[in-house]
């Protein structure tokens, strides 16, 4: 039976692929989006992997937060090979000239061995050692090019960092171990470690990292070295990083981007799937006579199913193959656009796993979406030949519904199983399923509404036959309504959601944070400076409030006695145990504190150490009042009993600490102070100037500048977001075009019949205008609604920001949807207007 089925199948395909352009395009687009995103990710990761040594700065890296390595540790490292020491901290640089500028910088002090791998390139070209050397009593610095403008200096001018003076001798054009582009953090300044003490920036408790990079020289592998260091110095409290962790900081960023791209790819595939279903139904509806004839000639239903399944499978293979070819060339095409954001270029190549995964997605999607129309075609009765019946309606037999459920579950399962972030993928699949159901319901609603409006006599459309025809075409069986609402609606709602998200983020940046949010942050204030700092800043006009708090660096080690690594912690609050965080101590509750459980400690503290904790984090860690939490501060473990829980609104932008200890707990721990200042807009520069003049060690962060930095990052990302969202939209438009093309001959026929009955070209135009206009309007309204709800949920529930509704944007989307639908409709229908009546009316 299979051989016969195959023979008949291919005989029918000889007619060519013309009717399948949309089918092919839909599948190809989805496969290309998913495969392209994954290939891009792998190519970037491969790029990072092959540059791992320069990126890490060695074969193994040891990081210490509070101290330098001692002699014993150093010689243990040196036994494996060369060691390079560097120190990173955030600080301020300012021009030595009176009227010069200031800027937040990422200061990096390096020793003579730096870099162990790769080269630091500077402009004007010279060896790094010459740049950093002391000349005429002044040490040199290599600076990020952006600092020239910010500090209003030229190469050769002097700059001040902390208490030290440097000559800006060259700009950095390439820093081998720089992970993040300067647009995404602060501008870099490179100096020699020997010049660092003069800055007086290194103090007990400063936020800085001592980094030792080791290049192994054959005596030991990096793994062996790591093992030896861990074994010989169990209490060193250093963090060791190997080559596979070279890009740790940005890998999760990359994964998030990939995840996002994949999700949009899946949306495209889903939308394309609807196009597939539509194309298959249209094709099979046109084959109705053939199918009925085949049945009359004795072909069993199974044979019919097989014939068309073979055809669809053959065509799907072509579509998927086209998609894979496109996916394979995505990395070389897309990488130049990402260059700004990535530390290294991607590795151009073919990534079979990524492509195979996309192919599986394509196969499953084609199967899921073609099955229903195929199963229905199987049951076309032979009498269809004799009775002119409308296609559509009916439900395939149960067996096929079960198969459909299995395939659908397979598709969802595969999407979830192969995702890097399973939870997110599961949420997407659930969301997509809900969205499909919602859009389906909306489509049915639109059709019902059209049906009730179309009702002839005395109804809304009475006396307007063109309007009635349009309404009838929206709800007749086999109408494009469902397909268009589902696909274009889906793509469009993604676009609406993204646009509204951006609008909201933009609004937060330009309109500023909530009114009571601080405008400036100050860090690295030494304890003895706090009082002077407060009185100094309070004198600057425009300052409304100065808040200071002590900050101690510490790491959560135990949760109610259980080691943090072994504790059962909700992934949402896992960040709290990762690395060091700022802790605080205070006798009094912070001004903005909202204590939701327990009470603040009084002035009389016994021996017991108490702590006040963020209620959300406590919940995520399963902690209750009276239980304990332990932190490591400079190697000393401090355990405190939870005295109260605070509800922290991080989005307010005000200074907040997850953990605030009672003063007795932190007695003796080295601390720095940080401060927030609320001030009138425009006074920031004055405040900064005042502080810098007398406390050069203090680092200033203007909230506005930080937000601008964030916007830069978002700006680069939003291009990618827009590209991918438009892919989903293109898929929707394809489905629209397909759905409209499918009705082409029907429309020409209707136009002719209307003309016979005395309709002018205007009447016919009006009928089409109504049909497409109403379809576009319904789709646009539904998409705008769904997209707005999605964006609102993300902004208010996930980002926990204030919501701004952009009505104009929503209106634009609706109008655009109507226009696009009208254009698509008329581009396929224009000919129908001038169609010659006679040929269509002759007897067959």
């Amino acid at each position: 039976m299979f051989t016969i089925a195959r023979r008949i199948a291919f005989r029918e395909l000889r007619g060519g692929l013309r009717g399948f352009r949309i089918f092919l395009a839909c599948l190809a687009l989805g496969v290309a989006a998913i495969g392209g995103a994954a290939s891009l990710n792998e190519s970037v990761k491969a790029g990072i992997a092959s540059n791992a040594q320069p990126l890490l700065g060695g074969d193994l890296q040891a990081r210490l937060s509070h101290r330098t390595a001692n002699e014993e540790e150093l010689s243990a490292m040196r036994r494996a090979g060369s060691v390079s020491y560097q120190l990173q901290l955030r600080s301020m640089a300012r021009s030595a000239a009176e009227d010069g500028g200031r800027s937040l910088i990422e200061l990096k002090a390096v020793d003579g061995a730096y870099p162990l791998y790769g080269v630091t390139e500077v402009e004007p070209a010279m060896p790094l050692a010459d740049v950093l050397a002391v000349k005429d009593g002044v040490p040199g610095a290599a600076i990020d090019p952006s600092l020239l403008a910010r500090l209003k200096i030229q190469i050769g001018d002097q700059i001040k960092i902390g208490e030290g003076t440097f000559q800006a001798r060259a700009v950095i054009t390439k820093e081998p171990d720089r992970l993040v582009a300067p647009t995404m953090s602060g501008p870099r300044v490179l100096i020699a470690t020997t010049a660092l003490p003069a800055t007086e920036l290194v103090q007990q408790g400063s936020l800085l990292q001592h980094i030792y990079n080791i290049r192994t020289e054959g005596r030991e592998t990096a793994d062996q070295l790591r093992e030896r260091l861990t074994r010989d110095f169990p209490d060193a409290a250093w963090r060791l990083r190997g080559l596979n962790q070279a890009a740790q900081g940005i890998e999760s960023f990359l994964d998030n981007v990939t995840l996002f791209l994949t999700l949009v790819g899946m949306t495209a595939l889903l939308t394309g799937g609807i196009g597939v279903a539509n194309a298959v139904s249209t094709y099979l509806a046109a084959r109705m006579n053939t199918i009925a004839t085949l049945k009359c000639l004795g072909a069993p239903a199974r044979m019919i199913f097989m014939i068309y399944a073979i055809q669809i499978a053959a065509l799907a293979s072509i579509g998927i193959a086209i998609g894979l070819v496109i996916a394979a060339v995505v990395p070389p095409l897309a990488l130049p656009f990402l260059a700004e954001l990535l530390p290294v270029g991607g590795e151009i190549g073919i990534y079979p796993v990524a492509l195979a995964r996309a192919a599986v997605f394509g196969v499953l999607t084609a199967a899921v979406f073609a099955l229903w129309p195929l199963a229905k075609a199987r049951d076309i009765p032979p009498v269809a030949l004799f009775r002119q019946a409308l296609a559509g309606g009916g439900r395939p037999p149960l067996r096929y519904l079960v198969l459909l459920a299995i395939l659908g579950a397979g598709l969802a399962g595969f999407a979830i199983a192969t995702a890097e972030n399973v939870k997110f993928a599961a949420q997407f699949v659930a969301g997509a399923a809900v969205a499909l159901v919602l859009f389906r319901i909306a489509a049915v609603g639109v059709m019902r509404l059209a049906a009730s409006l179309a009702r002839g006599r005395g109804g809304f459309a009475a006396g307007k036959p063109t309007l009635r025809l349009a309404l009838a075409n929206l709800h007749r069986p086999g109408s494009p309504t469902t397909a268009v609402v589902l696909s274009l609606g889906l793509g469009l709602s993604v676009l609406v959601a993204i646009a509204l998200l951006e609008t909201n983020l933009d609004a937060r940046i330009t309109n500023g944070m909530p009114a009571d949010a601080p405008s400036m942050f100050f860090i690295d204030i030494q304890p003895q400076q706090t009082e002077d700092f407060t009185s100094l800043v309070e004198q600057v006009p425009g300052v409304r409030k100065v808040t200071t708090a002590s900050m101690i660096r510490g790491r959560i080690t135990k949760i109610n006695g259980v080691k943090a690594e072994d504790a059962n912690i909700d992934p949402d609050v896992r960040w709290a145990i990762r690395g060091e965080r700022g802790l605080s101590q205070s006798a009094d509750p912070p001004e903005n504190a909202r204590i939701v459980d327990g009470t603040w400690w009084g002035p009389e503290l016994g021996d017991e150490h108490l702590v006040s904790m963020d209620s959300v984090v406590a919940k995520g860690m399963g902690l209750k009042l009276g239980q304990t939490i332990s932190v490591d501060v400079l190697g000393v473990e401090i355990t405190a009993v939870i005295a109260n829980l605070r509800d922290i609104r991080w989005q307010s932008g005000a200074m907040n600490f997850t953990l605030i200890f009672s003063p007795n707990a932190m007695a003796g721990a080295p601390q720095m102070y940080i401060a927030t200042v609320n001030s009138d807009t425009g006074s920031e520069d004055r405040i900064e100037q005042a502080v810098m003049a007398s406390m050069p060690n203090v680092t200033v962060i203007q909230v506005r500048e930080a937000l601008e930095l964030l916007r830069n990052v978002l700006g680069s990302l939003s291009i990618a977001v827009r590209i991918t969202a438009s892919v989903a939209l293109v898929a929707g438009a394809l489905v629209l075009a397909g759905a409209i093309a499918a009705g082409h001959s029907r429309r020409i026929y209707e136009a002719v019949v209307l003309k016979v009955l005395g309709a002018t070209r205007r009447d016919v135009t009006r009928a089409f205008l109504f049909e497409y206009g109403l379809l576009g309007l319904a789709t646009g309204v539904i998409a705008a609604g769904v997209g707005t709800i999605a964006a609102w949920a993300i902004v208010t529930k996930i980002m926990r920001l204030e919501w701004t509704f952009d009505g104009l944007l929503t209106l634009e989307v609706i109008v655009a949807c109507v226009v696009v639908t009208l254009l698509a409709g008329f581009s396929g229908t224009w000919r129908a207007l001038g169609a010659k009546a006679a040929p269509l009316l002759r007897n067959e």
């Binding site: 005395g458 307007k464 019949v753 016979v756 009955l757 005395g758 309709a759 009316l841």
Partner: protein
């Protein structure tokens, strides 16, 4: 001669003078009509017969204004088609011409009632649906008005088409083998209805048929052969 005298008294319902039609076929131009002169008086019934491919349907299309002559002149109810553009022709059809086809040509997404109401609605008649319903009753389909074409038998569909063609009380009714797709008994019913409506409303009827007996029921029978009128005879049945 009597034909000519009626013409001078009153403009003829249908007046064709030296009508030629040439269409581009796949193998070059095809001369379909090669000089047809025909004059039909208001209220007359004309049967058109002739071999397949002789040009009968083409002639009907010209009379309906659905096709334009290559040469010659078409004047219907005193109106010269050459002076009307496509939309003018559509409006003219709306007001003066009803057509019935062999394969019905109903709009599948509209009920029987809505199909019949369409031309009335185009004419802006406020009583479109009432008239449509009355017309459906007149063809014996009062119980089928909310059915869609797909839910009707062939004979019923043709009766809907007939009701639609008659709904606006056209001066001229054109029918192209209206029973070609129907069995004998059903066809007979349709023909009875057709002649009945024709008689009652003094409509000019042009009926294309293969059935000589049917043609003989008309006042006149026009024989077409190879794009020309071969014979034009008064029927014996006519008074």
């Amino acid at each position: 001669m009597s034909v000519m005298s009626r013409f001078s008294a009153d403009p003829a319902a249908i007046q064709l003078d030296g009508v030629h039609l040439t269409l581009e076929g796949p193998a070059g131009p095809v001369n379909i009509l090669k000089g047809v002169d025909l004059s039909v008086a208001q209220g007359a019934a004309v049967g058109i017969v002739g071999p397949s491919g002789s040009g009968k349907t083409t002639l009907l299309m010209l009379i309906a204004g659905l096709e334009r002559v290559s040469r010659g002149n078409v004047r219907i109810a005193g109106t010269d088609y050459a002076k009307l553009n496509e939309d003018g022709l559509a409006l003219f059809r709306r007001d003066h011409i009803g057509i019935v086809f062999q394969s019905f040509h109903l709009i599948p997404t509209m009920t029987a009632l809505e199909n019949v109401a369409v031309p009335l609605e185009f004419a802006g008649r406020s009583d479109a649906f009432d008239r449509a319903e009355a017309q459906l009753r007149a063809v014996g389909l009062g119980h089928r008005i909310t059915h869609y074409p797909g839910q009707l038998s062939g004979g019923e569909q043709q009766r809907v088409a007939l009701a639609r063609a008659f709904a606006a009380e056209p001066k001229i009714l054109l029918a192209d083998e209206p029973t070609g797709n129907l069995d004998g008994a059903t066809g007979h019913q349709i023909i009875e209805l057709l002649f009945d409506l024709h008689k009652r409303s003094n409509t000019t009827l042009v009926l294309i048929t293969h059935d000589m007996g049917l043609a003989a029921r008309c006042d006149r029978t026009v024989h077409i052969a190879d794009g020309l009128i071969a014979r034009d005879s008064l029927s014996s049945a006519a008074e």
